[in-house]
Symmetry: C2
Subunit: 122 residues, 2 copies
């Protein structure tokens, strides 16, 4: 029951749904998610830790960058299928379409220049 509740509570937040949708096309660095979601690094990090606790995402550290991706094996039987259903419903929403467009722009940039823009106040 707790596992199921963790998953549902993790899903019951628009920002986290946006992050999950963004990860559909493959792993992303935290700084790319910060740029996409337009929130403070600490806030984004907290959201990602909630998603990871629910086993909806997995993470991998590479040098100074931390990459997050959708989980491959889920904690509850339903989680994967629920996620697929949610994605189908979320795909056509304006917010997610905007995010996809925004994400393409973000990913076209190198991570060094992205981080420079994010952290050094230019």
């Amino acid at each position: 029951m707790q596992d199921i509740m963790d998953v549902l509570k993790a899903l019951a937040d628009e920002t986290r749904l946006r992050a999950l949708c963004a990860l559909r096309n493959g792993e992303l660095c935290v700084c790319q998610l910060i740029a996409l979601l337009d929130l403070s690094p600490s806030t984004v990090s907290k959201h990602l830790s909630i998603l990871r606790s629910a086993r909806l995402v997995e993470s991998r550290k590479d040098g100074r960058w931390m990459y997050y991706r959708l989980a491959t094996r889920f904690r509850t039987r339903a989680a994967g299928k629920v996620l697929a259903l949610l994605f189908a419903d979320l795909d056509p929403t304006a917010r997610i379409r905007d995010d996809q467009k925004h994400l393409r722009k973000i990913c076209s940039e190198s991570m060094e220049t992205l981080c420079r823009r994010l952290f050094c106040k230019l």
Copy 2:
């Protein structure tokens, strides 16, 4: 997006999941749900109004009793399927099994005697 969020937020609460599971076998009166969930009438009523706002349940008034049942048509395409997946995962949990047992006892009683026990403090 708001529709999807309403559904997910409605599902992200253990009490409301228990209520939904209880309604799988057919409609129930508010007083039966009060007895099952062991919460104050106002609290249960509030939970049910949240489920109704999300279009996960429908209601029907019959005399002095208000009956709630699972919705037949859902607001979002995913909702019905998500619910089915959740039920499959919830069914084997201890909490839901206890509720099923408890519910059989509650439903074996007439609503008059049930309400008498609930409201008149005997």
